[in-house]
Symmetry: C2
Subunit: 323 residues, 2 copies
């Protein structure tokens, strides 16, 4: 009994699903489960669902968690463990004392953090960023989020909102962003931005391979399908991917110029495009960063993929001083 | 005698002049002098001129300096005190052990740093950034440089080149920059970039007030004269200043979005344009930073002006752990 290593719990709260896992501070994952969020039921029901899920995994592993780290899709007040704002959740999530409620229910300390910053920690501690002091993470999904680690510490700023790298302006007169600004990286390199261009090419008859791969259904167009279509010979689709990668390269180059980190990690569904995207980002950064050898910065794909958030929750719970 | 506070020496090595001062760790300046750099004479002669200048001020104050901090317009290896590269100096400045040579001559420790990063320290310790943990500095002159302070520490990166904020891309297809990239902030908001547009307006007859103020001489057009012309009614000159300020606002907004610092300081000759520039930068940042209240970031003009570099050298010499 005394030889059993401590386990920590992690929750990745998403708009669709709640993912939960338990693991030791150095892994491996001892148990995991995913349930629907059903966010329309409101904060109390969602928090109760989270607590029940953690308790279920605790029963399964036979160990109570030493702590819980939870990533949420919005802003939190870390000191008080309060959820400040979840932009895509219905209901009253402003000022919800989620940390306190879960700690009382689970009997262990609970730490909350923005979900992309949590994924950044996962990538730093268990993924591509292992043994790195500096790392910049871009989460390229429905939105574009980010996280910045300097000297081994996540940069959060006074409101936990530092690192919102998807909302850098990369095209001064670019498309309107959901945030209210124009030309944010997110408007040009997010999954929806890339897919929208794929749909245009599909509907205008410029993408025969994409037509075959998606059976002509716009709803089936994703960055991943577009990568396959480019591979299969759709020049216009290839061009669309390279254009998005060029804007992403500007966003990466600007952060690299400002901070000169050792490592930039690209995660999220858009990174699944693979070498076509990655090579163009790298060459853009080499072309645009001229004040020092851009080769001194590694630009790599996430190794944890969609598990970065879950691993980040374990890091958040198990490691002190990382945020 | 024993009651005399320690004095530190500071050198700001420029392409035209060498400025030197001695001061206590908390000021005031006890002595200062400026001599021509005469960089065409090469590293040995320039270093000897610096040493002689410091010894002169030491004689004048009656105290040997406890240390010397020197800002140089290029890249240095801080650990060895070696000058790596001075882009605008003739002669063999690659790999010059300037720190060692000066330390031997002066009998005190010598610290070297890039000149804009040195000015950043000056502004942090003695200027607008006093008591601030986070500060981003833009030096808007012939070039556009920068410096980033996070948690009280200057961010330098492995080669001392972090903080080159003038080389962020703010217009993907913008003008060619001296660094080799296109659309760097420097190509759109440096002194020469702003003055060039002023010259165009002057020569095309669109700037009657600027015409009067400069007696029609293109060589007399500066950002400061342009501010006066805008004030005196030149709408096109006003527009040119606002356009440059808009690009500067994008550069500021991007750093603010990534790092959420408490304070952004604008220094250098371009900042002398005053409220017309500053108000447009602030409104651009408010319009483009939407992920948190942009009002939480102060954007202010340097209080030290051209003395920021000299004060930075004192900070560099007198404060441990700041870099």
């Amino acid at each position: 009994m005394g030889l059993m290593p401590a386990l920590f719990a992690s929750v990745d709260l998403g708009g669709t699903n709640i993912a939960c896992a338990m693991a030791g501070a150095d892994g491996p994952i001892a148990a995991e489960r995913t349930v629907p969020t059903a966010s329309q039921e409101g904060p109390a029901a969602v928090l109760e669902r989270i607590a029940a899920l953690v308790l279920e995994l605790a029963a399964e592993t036979g160990q109570a968690p030493e702590g819980l780290g939870m990533g949420v899709p919005g802003l939190v007040d870390r000191a008080s463990g309060t959820v400040r704002f979840l932009p895509n959740f219905p209901g009253q999530w402003r000022g919800v004392p989620a940390g306190e409620a879960l700690a009382a229910r689970l009997g262990c300390p609970v730490r909350l953090l923005n979900d992309v910053r949590t994924a950044t920690l996962g990538e730093l501690v268990y993924g591509r960023g292992r043994d790195m002091a500096d790392m910049v993470f871009f989460a390229l999904g429905t939105g574009v989020g980010g996280g910045i680690v300097l000297d081994g510490k996540l940069r959060l700023g006074p409101l936990g909102a530092a690192g919102e790298l998807g909302h850098q302006t990369v095209a001064p007169d670019g498309p309107l962003c959901g945030c209210g600004n124009r030309g944010c990286l997110e408007t040009l390199a997010s999954g929806p931005a890339i897919a929208a261009e794929g749909v245009r090419l599909l509907l205008s008859g410029q993408a025969p391979a994409l037509q075959r791969l998606t059976a002509g259904r716009p709803g089936a167009v994703t960055p991943r399908e577009m990568a396959a279509a480019a591979e299969a010979g759709d020049a216009a689709v290839r061009e669309a991917i390279l254009r998005a990668a060029g804007y992403l390269g500007i966003g990466v180059a600007n952060v690299v110029t400002a901070l000169h980190p050792q490592l930039v990690v690209l995660g999220g569904g858009v990174a699944a495009i693979g070498p076509l995207l990655l090579d163009e980002v790298r060459s853009t950064v080499r072309r645009r960063v001229r004040m020092f050898p851009a080769e001194s910065v590694c630009i790599e794909r996430s190794t944890l993929g969609e598990k970065a958030g879950i691993w980040g929750g374990i890091a958040l719970a198990a490691r002190n001083g990382i945020v």
